[in-house]
Amino acid sequence: MEKLIQKYNDKLFKHGLTERDEPLIGTLDAEIIWNKTNKTTNILEKLFKTLNINSIIFSEPAEPYKTIIEYLTKTSSGIIYPEDCETRTFLHELPYTKNFDVQTITNILKERKSLIIPGHGIITFGTVSPEQAFVTFSSVCFAVYIKFFSDYLEHKKHRTITNEEEKTFNKIALMINPYPEFSFSLMKGPFSKEKVYKALNEAGKITVKSKLVDSYFGNISYLIDNIIYISQTGSSLDELDGYIDTCPIDNSSCAGITASSELSAHKQIYLDTDNTAILHGHPKFSVILSMDCNQQNMCKYKNQCHTKCPYKRFVNDIPIVPGEVGTGPYGLYKTIPSAIKGKRGVIVYGHGAFTACKKDFNEAFNNLLSIEKMCKQEYFKRANI
């Protein structure tokens, strides 16, 4: 458990979610272990007594999340509703409270996976591993970021911006780091069965490093001889060593039952196109722009955009399609393959971007990065900045 505490303490910092060594992380097996003690540990320790959980993360988020959360909690009442589909599926809603007392915290965490306490931080927990607490923490940060920028654009368009919102936006805009340049080369394909693991690893790492995914969401695959080499469900794109599943395209082995929930989408792309490499991430501005639609108010599918959007939508040359994770009736495996043909990539409404190419990951990564850069530019254009 000590090793896991250290791991997620480091990861929170590395992903830009908290300041270095800011998080308070506790785990409980037979005894409680904290990474450090202060007056808050006394309060949080009581949560372990009342809740059937085994780990807690409590931390003030890093900027710009801190400022965003301060703003959102000031302007919404009790609960923040995330806009993006992924967070909605897994977290449903983001409750907050101004009362930093055990009873209030307990009551909210009895029902939800996270709690925001403005001015103090975010509390998340796990029932089997601190990894759950980390993922939830990261998802909360992602969700508030998407929500803030989406709302801002919406308010700007309808001229309902408040001074406070404008001020917050200007402050945050200065905090956003530019995306890196792709000035190097990834491994050159086509890959052999031996080399493919290294290539997937390398491309996964660079995707995370370039901040094109949040926490571990995102996936990657490569096709050799009708076998899909794909990242496992819930694996971190920057830690793929040992977490690649092999799935024969004819389903002749189920050993890849632990493969990414997007296996069906990857498979369908391989079946319908001549690509051999696929990369999927959740770049923030691609997600934000995918939800910016002028038809929304008069559309009969309002509020069902993520499943039923009837329009052919684009950001410049990149199609935006509806679709849900997995194999359901609105599965994105039905919408992406036809849309991605002849394109640099596809953005899934409120979710993320897929890129596919032949040979190796150079083009796939370059496209994911350039789509996100384009979306960011387009965002500021639409917001008239």
């Binding site: 085994n54 965490l109 009895k110 189920c254 997995g326």
Partner: protein
């Protein structure tokens, strides 16, 4: 009343009379249903012999059953296990639970003993007792053909009549209340079958919020690779696990002397699907549908069955697996115990058996003939009678299923602490140790596992009480199911409140076992796992389990569960959980 019917059918087979109990709402809130309520009604009788006519045989549904709640078509059957002497409960699918609620009952409690073989037929409020003498010796399938017009069915086959300690109660011909020999107890009461049908609706407190909660759960299940994925159990049945478990080097082979089966890739789910072309079915009220049935009405074996009738007994013939599964189902006996008992027999005999030998032995077990009369008592009793106890791979006399504990140390602890003996379903650590849900944990570490196992036992206890299917929790959580519960019953609750009730239900089982003398010495694994390694390979090392660490983790578990150092429930913890403490 919302959710529950508020009525329990109490049947006395001595007099062939019945009564209706109206449980207090506080009892319902405290134990919910399924195994929670069944355990509550079992507790006062648990020290009786299993074959005592006063020992109750209990069927319970839960408040979610007969509603649109996802995977709600399940129920629990519970009593004392003839095989293990522990509490014996089994969560079972099919449509019996739905039909029972439709007839207006949350559960049935049966005591007494009928002089002649009898059947019970429930049609709404009409309860009829029939003479079932003519059904003796018939297979489950044959019985079912005669009674299925009368509604959903529960029946026992020849195995139960012939004293097989691991005989099942079979629901709707294809769903098995297995593992603990409850079929034998059913038969000991002179019962041959029960049928049930009805027309009542379960009252829902808030239909709109129920619909929303259901939608939230659906979205999660569709996003789950294990459930609805390309290679998941909806597409292949639980057989989908076969490749994975072998690939992770934890497929019990040659009676747990190896953990890798060379022939696995030729006997996997894909090959069954290709060869037998089965159609998808499932429990009532489920959208996952993990049951596969062929045109001639045979079930494709579940993962455990597939594994034990191939790797464990070293059989390379897929048709023998199908046939063995069919015989067990028609005889009404547990496939895991049957496979493991034969594996134990092979080890002691020290000779390979042919496919036809295996089929012939299974029939002999079902009819208690020849060697079958010895093997019908299960691996533990058989090995002990031959002076070879070490060849019985059991915990509390229950044969272990198809996950070698050397390949998942949480599973090692969970086998030991399970209240019904060597069972994988109490905590199902395979979920995080192998299937990566809700996130993955290190399968070769004991660190942190004591608390995880305890929490997951509480979780599964509440799932079996609501009732829902454990599989759906690969995707959904109590966060969503607490909304379902509140929408149906109108009772405000939360994920953590439900988990606390799960803790009470599980502790109650621990109390019952302690009353029958179970202590720390019973919470242990066969010595083989501590002495010998599994089959390493594929860059995976499978060493023996470190006994010192195992014991330390078990002791941590006791501390976390609120048991004393001997694994006995305490007065203080019982009080905290509002349970009556007995000693």
């Amino acid at each position: 009343m919302f959710g529950w019917c508020g009525k329990i059918l109490k049947i006395d087979l001595n007099s062939k009379k019945y009564d209706i109990l109206n449980p207090d709402i506080n009892i319902l809130k405290k134990y919910i249903g399924g195994k929670g309520l069944a355990g509550y009604y079992l507790k006062d009788h648990i020290t009786l012999n299993w074959h005592d006519p006063d020992m109750p045989l209990i069927f319970f549904t839960g408040p979610l059953v007969n509603t649109i709640s996802p995977t709600s078509g399940r129920m629990t059957i519970m009593s004392k296990s003839p095989l293990t002497g522990t509490i014996g409960d089994s969560s079972v699918g099919g449509s019996f639970g739905f039909s029972l609620k439709k007839a207006g009952f949350d559960g049935i409690i049966i005591t007494g003993k009928s002089f002649d073989p009898c059947g019970i037929e429930i049609n709404n409020k009409n309860i009829t007792f029939t003479n079932a003498s003519s059904l003796s010796d018939l297979t489950v399938n044959e019985i079912n053909n005669l009674i299925r017009d009368k509604g959903s069915t529960a029946a026992v086959g020849p195995a139960a009549e012939n004293g097989v300690l691991f005989s099942n109660i079979v629901i709707d011909n294809h769903y098995f209340a297995g593992r603990n020999g409850l079929g034998l107890l059913f038969s000991s009461k002179g019962l041959k079958y029960i049928t049930v049908k009805g027309t009542e609706k379960t009252k829902i407190y808030n239909k709109e919020s129920l619909k929303k909660a259901r939608q939230d759960i659906f979205r999660l299940t569709f996003a789950s690779p294990v459930l609805m994925g390309e290679l998941g159990i909806s597409n292949f049945g639980t057989a989908a696990l076969y490749d994975l478990i072998d690939n992770r080097r934890m497929m019990p082979t040659d009676n747990f002397r190896k953990t890798h089966f060379n022939n696995a890739c030729l006997m996997n789910a894909h090959i069954y699907k290709k060869k037998f072309n089965p159609k998808k079915q499932g429990c009532l009220g489920c959208h996952i549908l993990c049951k596969y049935i062929t045109e001639d009405g045979s079930s494709i074996p579940e993962f455990e069955t597939m594994s034990h009738f191939s790797a464990l007994i070293n059989n390379n013939n897929i048709s023998v697996v199908m046939e063995a599964n069919k015989i067990c189902n028609e005889m009404g006996m547990d496939t895991i115990s049957a496979g493991a008992t034969i594996a134990c027999y092979i080890e002691i005999l020290n000779k390979k058996l042919s496919g036809s030998d295996i089929i012939s032995i299974l029939k002999k077990i079902g009819y208690a003939k020849g060697i079958g009369n010895e093997l019908r008592k299960g691996a533990f009793r058989f090995a002990e009678s031959k002076g070879k106890s070490e060849s019985a791979i059991t915990v509390k006399k229950l044969e272990l299923p198809a996950y070698d504990p050397r390949g998942a140390l949480g599973m090692a602890l969970a086998y030991a602490t399970s209240t019904r003996g060597g069972c994988h379903l109490r905590s199902y650590p395979i979920s995080h140790e192998i299937l990566r849900k809700p996130v993955s944990t290190d399968r070769f570490a004991f660190s942190g596992k004591a608390r995880i196992i305890k929490i997951q036992e509480d979780l599964n206890a509440i799932i079996d009480s609501l009732t829902a299917c454990k599989f759906i929790f690969f995707a959904a959580t109590l966060e969503e199911f607490s909304k379902v519960y509140t929408s149906i019953t109108g009772i405000e609750t939360s994920a953590q409140d439900l988990l606390k009730i799960g803790e009470r239900i599980y502790y109650n089982e621990r109390i019952m076992n302690s009353l029958n003398g179970f202590t720390k010495k019973d919470d242990d694994l066969p010595s083989r796992f501590f002495k010998y390694p599994g089959t390493s390979g594929n860059n995976i090392d499978i060493p023996p389990i470190n006994r010192t660490e195992f014991i330390k983790t078990l002791e941590n578990y006791y501390k976390i569960r609120g048991l004393d150092i001997n694994g006995i429930p305490t007065k203080e913890k019982s009080k905290e959980l509002e349970l009556e403490w007995k000693n």
